[in-house]
Amino acid sequence: MLNKYTCLAKLAARRKNEIIITCMGTAKPWEKLSDTALDFASVDSAMGHAADLGLGIAIAQPHRRVIVLNGDGSMLMSLGTLVTIAQRPCQNYVMVIIENGTYEVTGNQVVPGSGIVEFETMARGAGIEQVYTVKDEAEFEERLPLIFQGKGPSIFIWKVERGEEPVPTFRESLADRVRRLRHALLSSC
């Protein structure tokens, strides 16, 4: 099992100018590591739709790598998105499914299929070829560079310990966070 906070810190240490989309259990931990205009918390937004929001950005901005830090509960809410990602493949699209088996921010209720569901199998079955399940530190160190290189779409499944994150809240509204990211993307074109 991995530790989510350690994984995020290592990801942040390597990150350069990639767009990072977070949601629920990763939003506040990531904000402590990085809070640039290219960091976007999909919070107070649509449940389960960070992955497809990120896909839209990746399609619009093909020269920028988009990394979505999704949760397993969020992924389960829109599994069809895996098919959509496969049928509209973006080389610049990466999703990490952070699998802790629970809805962490609402009290760690067990997600449907916890311990049964294999996200790698589902992602491959959807037609995505670059899929990696990461269960321990050694695998993490080996796979981490792949998040930042190579042609996507790529899916990484991090098997992590349960956490205790509360429901994330942000001082800025979602609309303000959208404006910040959009301005950053369009002003650098």
Partner: protein, 165 residues
Amino acid sequence: MKLTASKIHKALKEQGITHVVGLPDNLSRVFFQGLVEDPEIEVIMVCREGEAFAIAAGLYIGGKQAVVLIQNTGLLEAGDALRGTAWNMRIPQAILLCYRGFKSLDPEVERKDSVAVFTEPTMKAWGIPFEVMRDDSELAMINRAFERAQSSSKPAAVIMADTIV
């Protein structure tokens, strides 16, 4: 009295559309196919309508202009996605809806299609401005929907009340 695919297509292009995100249905079949064959527009097919709003929001954030094209049944399914993306993000999202069951709303028709019964009250409750387009003489509704969306930074819709031919 008809809705013509090529005319709606042209009206959309006049709005500077780069992408169409959605799902085809029997009403939009011909229109959708024409969009797919247009090399100047990318059509992104989704598995469920909620994805369409999220992808369209991402496209907007990235500097593109997308229209969401779905059936009214899918709109009901996509309520939280619409709320959490276009609405909460203040995105000027134009929506083209196909109006399944519209003809069943005629008082003379005994058996109503429940999705038609739900559609307009739901959109009013959600605060989405819309107009119902019955034939080509009302194509200006498309322009008005885009203008409304732009001026309010919120979604606005046209509901297409017949099969597009």
